[in-house]
């Protein structure tokens, strides 16, 4: 396990053209890592995330992505992701290929990926138009009953990035609260990067809390408030005012570009990003 600065870790492990999953189901979204990807101007990424949220709206609007695999692309509790919409509706700033699933389909795909199975199965998608627009959604016959069942190819990201509450010095990771499909996305990846609120002597984790053991973790960076403006259970709630404000910022290409330049590209790291937001407030 490599313990480094976020800058080092993103530079060393994320490369142009890779498939990258920044997971966290509306909770523990790795915003700081996403911003560092943006700062380092990574390009041609295939972004994977069940709920793209504001972080992928930013990466897509900044031109980092060539493709997106997702299952629900809204601003949660607020409305649209305007940069995602602009990419899909108008190819701005560049065309974006989309691979669209349902949550259940994507969960099955991550689970298969984590187990290194070729595909996941689920009862679903029957009668919907999703399989018509996503040729990855197919079906097989059950070898025992001959009943049809839907399949999705396993998702195995080149890199998965998570944000977690804590790591210990050995590199074991604790995640608590709403855990989404983080564990599956982590174990499905070739490389796993985790940012954490803090590094502690002992996790003292409840027996069944999600712990990712150190040898599956490629690199860790300590980034306090690294999920801001999303939630980190036990640390901070979502900054809902930011989510509402984003709706306005992201509607307009120029306003978006100015915001990204001022707050993300012109700040050296996450602490400076937070300072620049505080100054603007």
């Amino acid at each position: 396990m490599h313990l480094g600065s976020l800058q080092e870790v993103i530079d060393q492990y994320i490369h142009d053209g890779q498939s990258v999953a920044l997971e966290g189901f509306t909770h523990l979204i790795p915003f700081a890592a996403g911003h560092e990807i943006l700062r380092q101007k990574k390009r041609d990424l295939h972004l994977i995330r069940m709920t793209p949220d504001l972080i992928y709206d930013q990466l897509i609007g900044a031109g980092c992505a060539r493709a997106l695999t997702f299952s629900w692309g809204g601003n949660p509790g607020v409305g649209s992701l305007h940069r995602l919409r602009d990419a899909v509706e108008n190819d701005w700033p560049r065309p974006l290929s989309i691979y669209e699933h349902s949550h259940a389909g994507m969960a099955a795909a991550y689970t298969a990926g984590a187990a290194r199975l070729p595909f996941g199965i689920l009862r679903g998608y029957v009668g919907t138009d999703l399989s018509g627009v996503n040729p990855q959604i197919r079906e097989v016959r059950c070898p025992y009953t001959n009943a049809a069942i839907a399949t999705v190819p396993a998702i195995n990201p080149d890199v998965t990035v998570l944000h977690a509450q804590a790591a210990d010095r050995q590199g074991n990771i604790l995640i608590r609260g709403i855990v989404g499909a983080q564990k599956e996305a982590a174990l499905a990846a070739s490389t796993l990067i985790v940012t954490v609120e803090e590094i502690v002597e002992s996790l003292a984790a409840p027996m069944n809390a999600i712990v990712l053991p150190h040898w599956v973790v490629t690199a860790i960076a300590e980034v306090p408030t690294g999920a801001y403006p999303s939630y980190a259970h036990g640390y901070y709630a979502r900054d809902n005012a930011f989510y509402l404000a984003w709706d306005e910022i992201a509607r307009d290409r120029e306003r978006f570009t100015e915001w990204i330049t001022r707050h993300v590209l012109c700040s050296r790291d996450h602490a400076e990003f937070l300072d620049s937001l505080a100054e603007a407030a």
Binding site: T26, S71, W72, G74, Y125, G234, A237
Partner: protein, 282 residues
């Protein structure tokens, strides 16, 4: 617009819709809900006549008892107040897919006469006029829940003759097609709008107007529907909200507003509790 009810209280069509939906939830019901009107209606039911209902959110909270409405599906309130918090793959495969949900509560941008739902695009998929958020949990909720309640505002834009995209299957082309395709749940058993209530007809499964609200005429409901609306022989009148229902719903919204205004202030500042403090409070 607000309406004067017999109990001398004014209320909005949105409040009437939420309250009409809440009344349909039976005590003990295991209900899978999303954010928005479904969440408000389900919590209103829990705070009124269905205290023992089991609320499940797709982010993994089973038996949640939020004191305020969640801002988003990732809201910590849903985890803190739950009987159990499980992973997302588990909630979809072992709870929803396994048939353990009585009622799935869905909204949509478009619905057709057979209760099929669109939350994906307006216009063509490759060159959409409006790209909507997409499927989320809806297709499998619509597939597996024993029955579906749909809540949405009624207008010619939302009640359309032909969906631009079918995200979640209702009765497909009706006349038993859903059952023939071996979809396990019974599908949309009721559609609650801001004007009235629709249910599928026996046989054809076409959505049929069965009830209206006070001061809403059947003609107005027909005009808000993008196909020639089937109307039941007898149309029930849905009772106006009681003062208790309105008070509890409004208090819920008020508490929600106050709590979430606090969130933004707390979280913008980076003063954070230690891990030990976090453990003892979370």
């Amino acid at each position: 617009m607000s309406v004067q009810s017999s109990s001398v209280t004014t209320y909005t069509p949105d409040e009437m819709m939420t309250i009409a939906a809440a009344r349909l939830i039976r005590p003990g019901c295991v209900c899978f809900v999303g954010i928005g009107v479904p969440s408000a209606a389900a919590n209103l039911a829990r705070l009124t006549h269905a205290a023992d209902m089991v609320l499940i959110y797709e982010s993994g909270g089973i038996g949640t008892h939020p004191s305020v409405l969640p801002l988003s599906i990732g809201d910590g309130e849903l985890a803190e107040t739950a009987i159990a918090v499980v992973s997302l793959p588990e909630i979809f495969s072992c709870w929803l897919q396994a048939g353990r949900i009585d009622v799935g509560f869905l909204g949509a941008a478009q619905i057709d006469r057979f209760g099929n739902l669109n939350t994906t695009v307006i216009g063509g998929y490759r060159k959409p006029k409006t790209r909507l958020p997409g499927a989320g949990g809806a297709p499998e909720i619509a597939h597996h829940a024993k029955q579906i309640f749909v809540v949405l505002k009624q207008s010619p834009r939302s009640f359309v003759a032909k969906l631009d995209f079918c995200t979640s299957a209702g009765f497909l082309n009706g006349h038993g097609e859903r059952a023939r395709r071996a979809i396990p749940g019974a599908g949309p058993q009721v559609v609650i709008t801001d004007l009235g209530v629709l249910k599928p007809a026996t046989g054809s499964q076409e959505l049929t107007l069965v009830a209206r609200y006070e001061d809403v005429s059947v003609d107005r409901i027909r005009a808000a529907t993008g196909w020639p609306l089937a109307v039941a022989d007898t149309i029930d009148l849905v009772a106006a909200p009681t003062t208790d229902e309105l008070r509890i719903l409004r208090n819920l919204h008020k508490r929600t507003e106050i709590a979430h205004a606090g969130d933004a202030r707390r979280s913008r500042k980076t003063s954070r509790p230690s891990l030990e403090q976090a453990r003892s409070t979370a």
